[in-house]
């Protein structure tokens, strides 16, 4: 079983303070933190080892050489392999942007949706198919500019899925305009030749204020650390937000300095959001690891399952429908 354990090791531990995945033993007895999003033991028995490559599609990324998004793609496929999630049980949903091209490069179910709307699409999918592992992904423009409202409400709603934002502090796809996370004095965009003059959007602080139960920051240049964070995020029961610093080689060449700037974070106390808010506000935006994690009930829309009624799905549904119909007649 060397292969299996190799697949499991989510990389080295050089950067980032992400807690090591909770279960690293060679026994496959990892208890899924929630029945909904982890593969069943049965599935794991059938597919003992899924290597990262299995999760890649044959489509060649359109990304510029050196783009940070390659690192995210690599970390994600490693994570999925590590978690041994069967590809057919995974759906990756994105918006529009360089980063949002991600789903096409994976061999799992994917949706390349609308600019800014990955989160509601993921929310609908997860509500309808709670047993799937749902991952939403996109860029800083997609998620924090046009998609900002859905970000707020996804944090509040705490459905059990993961949101990966590849933050390169720029609109890459549309050729280099300032995004909400861009520095106010960055004046390399023709659209804002004197800089935006607007305070930066602070993803982690806003996520916390909005009620997110899992907030982490990773770095595309540290795929191993990122893999650990993504694994923790996917295993977190509830909405897990992973803010990934993902350099844009083409429009933000200065990002090459990030390698030197990143450092481990201090995690905010789960039981004291106020203190966590203070910590996150003091954060310089370069701290990697899990910034905050809290175990709270995941959002579960009210469904009277057939099982509860002791009936088959179809029969239960038909009976319920007949009862409904009757109520309309006088």
């Amino acid at each position: 079983m060397t292969e299996t354990s190799t697949t499991r090791a989510p990389g080295d531990h050089t950067v980032g303070a992400a807690s090591p995945p909770r279960r690293t033993g060679s026994t496959p007895a990892r208890q899924p933190p929630s029945a909904e999003h982890a593969p069943s033991a049965q599935h794991r028995a059938v597919i003992p080892s899924l290597r990262a490559q299995t999760y890649k599609s044959h489509i060649k990324p359109i990304w510029c050489p050196g783009c940070g998004h390659f690192g995210v793609l690599a970390a994600l496929t490693k994570t999925l392999a590590y978690l041994e999630l069967p590809p057919e049980r995974i759906a990756v949903v994105s918006g529009i942007g360089c980063s949002s091209r991600l789903p096409a490069y994976l061999s799992v179910h994917g949706f390349h949706g609308l600019h800014g709307r990955a989160l509601p699409l993921a929310a609908g999918l997860k509500a309808a198919r709670p047993e799937l592992t749902v991952i939403a992904a996109g860029g800083d423009g997609d998620g924090f500019s046009i998609g900002g409202n859905h970000f707020l409400h996804a944090c509040r709603r705490n459905q059990d899925f993961t949101y990966i934002v590849m933050d390169n502090e720029v609109y890459g796809m549309t050729k280099g305009q300032a995004s909400p996370t861009t520095q106010p004095d960055w004046h390399r965009s023709k659209l804002t030749p004197h800089g935006t003059g607007v305070r930066r959007f602070q993803p982690a602080a806003i996520a916390l204020a909005a009620g997110a139960s899992f907030i982490a920051r990773g770095f595309a240049g540290d795929p191993a650390g990122l893999t650990r964070l993504l694994a923790a995020a996917i295993e977190h029961p509830g909405f897990a937000f992973v803010h990934v610093l993902s350099p844009c080689r083409t429009f933000r060449a200065e990002h090459h300095a990030w390698k030197q700037l990143v450092h481990p974070c201090e995690r905010g106390p789960a039981e004291d959001i106020a203190r966590a808010a203070e910590l996150i506000q003091r954060d310089d935006g370069m701290a990697l690891g899990i910034l905050f994690e809290q175990q709270i009930p995941v959002y579960a829309p009210a469904v009277t399952t057939a099982a509860e009624q002791g009936q088959s799905d179809a029969a239960a549904s038909a009976a319920a429908l007949a009862a409904l119909e009757a109520e309309l007649c006088r």
């Binding site: 057919e88 759906a91 994917g110 390349h112 949706g113 509500a127 198919r129 009210a302 409904l324």
Partner: protein
């Protein structure tokens, strides 16, 4: 019958009766209307209850507008036979909605002062009716209940039905309230002057026939459940909210889910997500929400994800008149998506038909893997009817999504989600199906779903998305075609054909019933499927006829659309009138008569 009553009877065009109860906020006019509708049902009659209210959120004046009779009630009708005014609060607001004439009877409470000018000017007969005084005489008595009794008596509803109806409607309020109501209804029944009776009292019908007691919003919700919708995303908007509110507690009962969204951008994308997951999904909205959903609907079309958006139309443009009906979102539904984005547009023809049309839309959306926009409007959605149920046969419940989706083609070694097929429908998998993963995309793509900007791929996918709608056999449900013939002279004179869509049907059918008295051949076509237009069948149905296109909007949107599709014969005419007032049969009769007169003139 008195002279006046004969006049009143003559003014009625059929066996139905229109009554209105009006009053200030808190007067209970609407409750009175609900009880009267219940009584109508108990008497085995059909009924239609509309409401009108002032702009206040709560507590403003309101009117209950009830029409009922032994035949199904198609529309609001032209006039009011009987008005019971609990007071005259802001009556002017209702003057247009409650058309009084010399044949109308008004019950006015002297305690409320003299009737306003509009009433006097109408020449309607006014009878004093001391609703308030009578109520005051009874413990816990309320004037609106006295009015129920009086109206019921004059309208020929059996006392028993009224009492029974009040009992059921007020059951939640406790026995004392019911008892007081019963006392007042008794009193009101006695209060009415038998000489003023507009109709002879009908018999109580035991057991009452199996009828729906339903609003269009409820019927639409039922249609969704029948067709297998198990996920609904909701953002409230007048007049669609009640559809969502009706579904909210019922979806879980059939194993489904409703999610309240943060906005319409979210709700439309949520249903795309659910449908991608294989779970039939729907949302409901009105004009402003439809505008916000256009981008998401376009995504469903391009990615071939089946979704259904029910648009309960209100007065437009922009915020417009949120509480009133209009058919002015037709253009936005047909043409509002950017790019070439063929999709389904349907319209419910009446309150019960909301169930049929929504269920059909869900089935079509899944069969054809595209977006369906269903047009309803405030007059259907928020009005309550006692009507014949829509049979399950028309909206047979779907077993599950797999049935809706149809079989997957299995021939190819590679799974081609967007394969080019003869019928234009490609094999659609859902998550969980191993070996059939693909990336759904609004970006143009090749047959496997890989992004492509090649001319050949674009042309092939555009052709396919268009073709699937044109080659599909939609069967006979695309329209309701009725021939209103008197049977005597089958071939005399040119046929008059009145074309409408959706909620326009009611007034058109009633107008046709009247027109055939003077004109032997009148046909009505009420379009349920607007896009793709069943042009050949429509043109066949209009052949050799003089055509009048009737719709409730300012821009004659249907008329222009039919021209766009080259589906109208030369000389077709348009009757287009915006809201907020309902289409009246009389105005349609007038337009048709003018059209036919013109023809006769031409022939001279």
């Amino acid at each position: 019958m008195t002279d006046a009553n004969e006049r009143a009877a003559a003014a009625r065009t059929d066996a139905s009766l229109s009554v209105a109860v009006t009053g200030a906020g808190g007067s209970g006019a609407v409750t009175a209307g609900l009880i009267l509708l219940e009584a109508v049902a108990a008497a085995g009659l059909y009924g239609l209850l509309r409401r009108s209210a002032g702009p206040q959120i709560r507590g403003g004046e309101s009117a209950a507008l009830l029409r009922f009779g032994p035949e199904p009630i198609h529309c609001a009708g032209d006039r009011c036979d009987l008005l019971a005014a609990l007071d005259w609060a802001n009556h002017a607001r209702f003057a247009d909605e409650i058309p009084l004439d010399a044949a109308s009877l008004v019950l006015a409470d002297p305690a409320a002062g003299a009737p306003p000018d509009a009433v006097s000017a109408s020449a309607a007969r006014v009878r004093e009716a001391g609703f308030a005084a009578s109520a005051r005489e009874r413990e816990g008595g309320r004037a609106n209940m006295v009015a129920v009794g009086a109206v019921g008596a004059l309208a020929g509803l059996p006392l028993e039905a009224l009492l029974d109806a009040a009992g059921r409607t007020l059951s939640g309020k406790g026995e004392a309230v019911v008892a007081a109501a019963h006392a007042c209804i008794d009193a009101g029944f006695a209060l009415a002057d038998p000489a003023d009776r507009l109709l002879a009292t009908v018999e109580l019908y035991v057991p009452p026939p199996e009828r729906w007691h339903i609003t269009g919003n409820e019927a639409a919700g039922l249609g969704a459940l029948r067709a297998g919708v198990r996920f609904v995303a909701a953002y409230p908007i007048t007049p669609a909210s009640e559809m969502l509110e009706w579904l909210a507690p019922r979806l879980p009962r059939v194993g489904g889910t409703l999610l309240q969204a943060e906005d319409e951008l979210a709700s439309v994308n949520m249903i795309v997500g659910s449908a991608f997951g294989g779970v039939p999904a729907l949302t409901a909205t009105s004009g402003p929400g439809l505008s916000l959903m256009q981008e998401g609907i376009g995504l469903a079309v391009a990615s071939e994800t089946p979704i259904v958006v029910v648009n309960v139309m209100r007065g437009g443009p922009s915020t417009g008149i949120p509480t009133k009906a209009e058919q002015s979102d037709l253009n936005a539904a047909l043409y509002g998506l950017h790019g070439d984005a063929p999709h389904l547009v349907l319209a419910a023809l009446d309150i019960a038909d909301c169930a049929h049309t929504v269920a059909w839309a869900v089935r079509l959306a899944w069969r054809l893997q595209t977006a369906a926009i269903v047009l309803s409007d405030q007059s259907l959605g928020q009005s309550r009817a006692v009507c014949d149920p829509v049979s399950q046969a028309l909206t047979r419940p779907a077993r599950d999504a797999t049935e809706l989706r149809g079989p997957l083609l299995n021939s190819d070694a590679v799974y081609r989600r967007y394969a080019i097929t003869a019928d234009g429908v490609s094999p659609m998998s859902v998550p969980g199906e191993a070996g059939r993963a693909y990336t759904a995309d609004g970006l143009e793509h090749d047959t496997e779903g890989a992004p492509s900007s090649r001319a050949a791929d674009h042309a092939a996918q555009l052709d396919k998305r268009g073709r699937k709608l044109t080659v599909f056999d939609f069967g006979p449900d695309w329209a309701e075609i009725l021939d209103h013939e008197d049977g005597t002279e089958a071939d005399a004179g040119p046929c008059l054909c009145i074309v409408t869509f959706g909620a326009g049907r009611g007034a058109v059918v009633e107008a046709a019933e009247r027109l055939r008295r003077d004109h032997p051949r009148v046909r009505t076509i009420a379009l349920r499927l607007l896009a793709p237009l069943q042009r050949t069948a429509l043109m066949a149905a209009m052949r050799d006829a003089r055509v009048l296109v009737v719709e409730q909007n300012h821009g004659a949107q249907l008329f222009h659309y039919l021209h766009a599709e080259q589906a109208l014969p030369a000389g077709a005419r348009s009757l287009a009138r915006p809201g907020p007032l309902p289409l009246r049969p009389a105005e349609i009769v007038a337009a048709a008569t003018a059209l036919l007169a013109e023809d006769r003139h031409d022939r001279d």
